[in-house]
């Protein structure tokens, strides 16, 4: 499996990432891509912006482990994870997870698996600026249970 893991401040281009994924081999029949976007609202408060911090080195290792787990579970041709850090505004992309596979079931499952694990294992932290002030986010229960479903 071809893989790409990037942590960057700069925006990414969907088209470029899609082209790379689909072009790794002519055996690719399915590409599933997930993009997370900064919403203008969270838990009822207006969000003005986010600041994303990470642990350089460990983040890439953790994402690498998640991709290795995905590759063990499903036959995949390529995987891309791009996660942005730094200052982000509502409407900005935070994260892209893309999977290329022969068949769509594998692409969908692996894509959702990777983002579910990334949410609970990769060393990123979000600080949110809202109309009620600024604060570090805490882990969402929904994210913990999403990752837990893969362990059943």
């Amino acid at each position: 499996m071809s893989q790409k893991i990037i942590i960057q401040e700069a925006p990414f281009r969907m088209q470029d990432e899609y082209q790379k994924l689909k072009s790794v081999t002519r055996a690719v029949g399915a590409v599933a891509i997930f993009v997370g976007v900064v919403r203008d609202i969270n838990d009822g408060a207006d969000v003005h912006g986010l600041h994303l911090e990470h642990y350089p080195g460990m983040t890439e290792r953790e994402i690498g482990k998640i991709l290795a787990m995905a590759e063990d579970r499903w036959p995949l041709h390529a995987a891309t994870v791009i996660h942005r850090v730094g200052a982000l505004d509502p409407g900005d992309e935070i994260v892209l997870v893309g999977i290329a596979a022969g068949h769509r079931g594998d692409a969908f499952a692996a894509c959702e698996f990777v983002i579910d694990y990334l949410k609970t294992r990769a060393t990123f932290w979000k600080k949110e600026q809202t109309s009620e002030g600024e604060g570090w986010l805490t882990t969402r229960e929904a994210d913990l249970s999403a990752a837990a479903t893969w362990e059943e």
Binding site: Y55, R61, F124, W125, T139, D143
Partner: protein, 83 residues
């Protein structure tokens, strides 16, 4: 010498992103935290032993109270919230 790094809310509470500390051989993680508390005050002890603090040694999450080695990188951080 070990390198100690702090992230997110823990970094902010301590007002410190990283520091180097001289330790001898056979020092455990809990002993390291106790040393930081002795040197830097009660705030550090509280912040680093809070229930949901995660610890990584050399960028691998650890549990329990491992022994540290010279040259280790020890990280303290809250639960992750990326994606």
């Amino acid at each position: 010498m070990v390198k100690i790094v702090f992230f997110a809310s823990i970094r902010e509470v301590l007002g410190c992103a990283s520091l180097d500390l001289n330790i001898g051989k056979g020092v455990s993680l809990s002993r390291l935290v106790a040393m930081l508390g002795e040197q830097r005050g009660e705030l550090w002890c509280v912040a680093l032993t809070a229930e949901n603090v995660r610890v990584a040694v050399n960028q691998e999450l650890v549990q329990g109270d491992p022994l540290l080695s010279i040259g280790d990188e020890i990280a303290f951080f809250p639960p992750v919230t990326g994606g």
